[in-house]
């Protein structure tokens, strides 16, 4: 008992006091900023492994970006990845960053369904489904609940049963072999329910886009309530995105 208390004492305070203002340590590839500098745009677009970069004007789609940063290495005067980790939004279009665009990526309160702020603002239980996820987003979503990030303090938790959940968080590009289990799980969640896509693979298929082993038809059927980009998502991106979704009002 005393040994355990001693260990406890030695840990000090590990939690992040305010996750809404916390900075990520060291270098981090968050929201990119694209300058209006003239460069060889085709060469720039050619670098990207997932065709996330389009030209005239230069745009980066964070829903496709793997955040490898190779474009910024090749064209440092054109592209910079800032450490801004708040890049979750409820509008797919908002994930596309244009040159000269320095606006924050935010949740648009006008697009939040009424039920979300009505029912979930103080408590949100989520069922996570990994549908071809490589276990990186899964590790980071687990980390959201650890003693450092402690998402539970906001009443946001992952639960075991879809029956207890208010929504679903999908990771991975959605494989053909997971298409049916995903649908069954979603159907088992009582209404009203939300859908969150966590990670580049879930949002666009990522590097797996176009693979015949995928079946993404689930996504065409429902409104997506939150897109959380990242490869994997950073816990702070996820927590802040969900907080904005349940707290922001029109």
């Amino acid at each position: 008992m005393l040994d355990n208390l001693r260990i406890l004492l030695h840990q000090g305070k590990q939690y992040i006091p305010d996750v809404t203002t916390a900075q990520v340590p060291g270098i981090f590839r968050g929201r990119p900023v694209i300058s209006t500098e003239k460069i060889n745009e085709d060469a720039l677009a050619e670098i990207c492994p997932t065709n996330a970069i389009s030209t005239s004007p230069v745009r980066i789609d964070l829903g496709k970006c793997t955040f490898c940063g190779e474009c910024a290495f090749a064209f440092p005067e054109k592209i910079k990845f800032t450490t801004d980790h708040k890049i979750a939004t409820n509008e797919r279009q908002r994930l596309v960053i244009k040159e000269g665009d320095e606006k924050m990526v935010e949740v648009n309160p006008g697009q939040i369904r009424k039920e979300i702020s009505e029912y979930f603002s103080g408590s949100l239980k989520l069922r996570e489904v990994s549908a071809g996820g490589d276990n990186s987003c899964e590790l980071e979503l687990n980390a959201c609940g650890n003693v450092n990030f402690d998402m539970g303090r906001f009443g946001i938790e992952f639960v075991a049963s879809p029956r207890h959940a208010d929504g679903i968080v999908i990771t991975g590009p959605i494989t053909e072999n997971m298409a049916q289990p995903l649908q069954i799980c979603y159907d088992a969640i009582p209404d009203p329910k939300i859908i969150i896509l966590a990670g580049t693979d879930a949002i666009s298929g990522g590097i797996f886009d176009g693979s015949p082993a995928l079946n993404r038809s689930f996504l065409y059927k429902y409104k997506i309530d939150l897109y959380v980009p990242g490869n994997p998502v950073h816990p702070l991106t996820f927590i802040n995105g969900v907080l904005e979704l349940i707290r922001k009002r029109k």
Binding site: D3, N4, R6, I7, H10, Q11, Q14, V24, P25, G26, I27, F28, R29, I47, P49, T50, T66, F67, C68, G69, F73, F81, E128, V129, S130, A131, G132, G133, D134, N135, S136, E138, L139, N142, A143, N146, V147, N148, F158, A160, G172, P173, T175, E176, N177, M178, Q180, P181, C185, D201, G206, I207, F208, S211, P212, A213, L214, N231, P232, H234
Partner: protein, 499 residues
């Protein structure tokens, strides 16, 4: 010679691999190449070859530090005798060849689907209709778990045959994570795309799979990486080992309801993965490993932070570990739970930590060293109990060992060399093998190129491919309530298996 012996990361002309008649091929591999625990199959796969199938078998000989490669041409319509009848280590490899091409093995003991790939031979074989083993008895019952599990983990289905609370048999059905990665390696032609694919094979083994790929690619391009590159890769591999082992110790504490251990190991993992972020901008090391270059040279400042990290980590890690391994309530759950005997481990060809916990000295860092492991003169840590305790204990000891290696690597850090990226081309008509000891065990990537130097076949084997069967054997005769701790003590990869 009816086989060719090569070293890890060698590239050879595909024509130099002897092509044998199937019966001679079988005899060679099951009778002469595998004689003791010092030899095991690291890869055995087939690919389409002039309307037929070329199968290549790679048997590693740990004593001689060589990999013995042989091949044969088979016909999908043929019925063949199986390797598995003679030696169970080939069991899953042959199931894969059967699933992909329809090759019929007449005496295979367990010819069931492996992962239901999109390009499987029999499209009527559906993941929802997997033929589970059944025991007809009014006394027994079945428990089905998954594919979606209670926590935030990947999908897979576990089917238990139980006698009351006791597990008689567990069958593990995988394939839900199949993304068609091996095919994408052929279709995506840009090097960065392939590296990105390697980074996304298994997110808990980013460094290990990516190092396996870049080592293979560089060998295929006859490019010799500098010691600076090798050093960074070795550091990344050992950091990844510390991070995941720590996270697993946390999860094992959770599963035996030792809350403090769970919290402390959980928070100890954070600075380690945050170090990756400081180093390369990503907590799981995505973006760090590149063929022929290093975008993130380790600065003196970063090295200073690593030294401090290791010192801080070690103090708290030792304190909580001392407590964990002396708590009666923890030991009662760990000891003699989920035992895999040395005989079982050898019979099914387990690799990595799962082999070492059952007394098998199997570790690529020692037997087929890559990167800077030959300089570290790695000696594998061995346990003999084969239980959850052994798996926890090996993690603890391997973390200590990794910390020592990191200190040594920092001490003897080679000068950073700015490398000119001249994008060399892969050799034509060649075969390359790359073995890496990740935290989970041996990863094997193999590539075959065509006459233009394009990838003709890319084969990935995650250690989980061998080790899932070890989990199934471990839980036999255990209470079903001990399944979670057994599962976590192995922490096998679903996506690494399903590809």
């Amino acid at each position: 010679m009816n086989y060719i012996a090569i070293s890890n990361n060698d590239t050879i002309p595909i024509s130099s691999i002897p092509e044998l008649e199937y019966s001679a091929f079988l005899e060679l591999n099951v009778l002469s190449l595998i004689r003791s625990a010092a030899s095991h199959c690291v890869n055995y796969f087939g690919f389409p070859y002039h309307d037929r199938i070329k199968v290549i078998c790679c048997i590693a000989n740990d004593d001689h530090h060589l990999i013995n490669i042989s091949s044969s041409i088979i016909d999908a319509k043929q019925s063949l005798h199986s390797f598995s009848k003679h030696n169970l280590v080939f069991e899953k490899f042959e199931r894969e060849i059967h699933e992909n091409f329809g090759v019929n093995y007449i005496d295979h003991p367990w010819l069931k689907p492996v992962r239901f790939p999109f390009n499987r031979h029999n499209k009527n074989s559906k993941i929802a209709d997997y033929p589970f083993f059944k025991i007809e008895s009014e006394e027994l019952h079945e428990v089905g778990v998954g594919p979606i599990h209670a926590g935030i983990i990947e999908p897979g289905h576990f089917r238990f045959n139980c006698n009351g609370e006791q597990i008689l048999h567990l069958e593990i059905q995988l394939g839900y994570q199949h993304r068609g990665i091996e095919q994408l390696f052929l279709e995506k032609k840009k090097l960065l795309q392939r590296i990105t694919l390697a980074e996304n094979i298994a997110g808990d083994s980013v460094a290990a799979h990516t190092v396996a790929f870049v080592n293979l690619w560089e060998s295929l391009c006859h490019y010799v990486p500098s010691n600076d590159l090798r050093s960074a890769r070795t550091i990344a591999l050992e950091l990844e080992r510390i991070a995941v082992h720590t996270g697993d110790l946390s999860a094992m504490c959770t599963d035996v309801a030792y809350q403090l251990g769970s919290a402390v190991y959980g928070r100890l993992r954070t600075p380690v993965i945050n170090y990756f972020q400081k180093w390369c901008g990503n907590r799981l090391a995505k973006g760090l490993i590149r063929a022929g270059r290093n975008n993130y040279p380790l600065s003196d400042e970063l090295i200073g932070e690593l030294i401090k990290l290791l010192n801080d980590y070690e103090k708290d890690f030792e304190e909580v570990s001392e407590e964990l391994f002396s708590l009666p309530s923890v030991l009662a759950r760990f000891e003699k739970t989920g035992v895999v005997t040395a005989e079982q481990a050898a019979a099914i060809g387990t690799v990595g930590m799962s082999a070492r916990m059952s007394g098998i000295k199997r570790d690529i860092r020692h037997s087929h060293p890559h990167d800077l492991y030959h300089e570290l003169q790695h000696q594998p840590l061995i346990r003999h109990q084969g239980d959850v305790y052994a798996r926890a204990r090996i993690r603890k000891k391997e973390i200590n060992q990794s910390i020592e290696y990191l200190r040594e690597l920092i001490q003897n850090r080679p000068q950073h060399k700015q490398i000119v990226d001249d994008s060399p081309n892969p050799a034509a008509d060649s075969f390359t093998i790359s073995l890496v000891e990740g935290w989970r065990g041996e990863i094997c990537h193999c590539a075959v190129t065509d006459n233009k130097g394009e990838l003709q076949h890319y084969k990935i084997k995650d250690p989980s491919f061998h080790n899932w069967l070890a989990l199934a054997l471990a839980v036999r005769n255990n209470e079903i309530s001990d399944f979670p701790i057994c599962n976590k003590s192995f922490d096998l990869s679903y996506c690494g298996h399903d590809l």
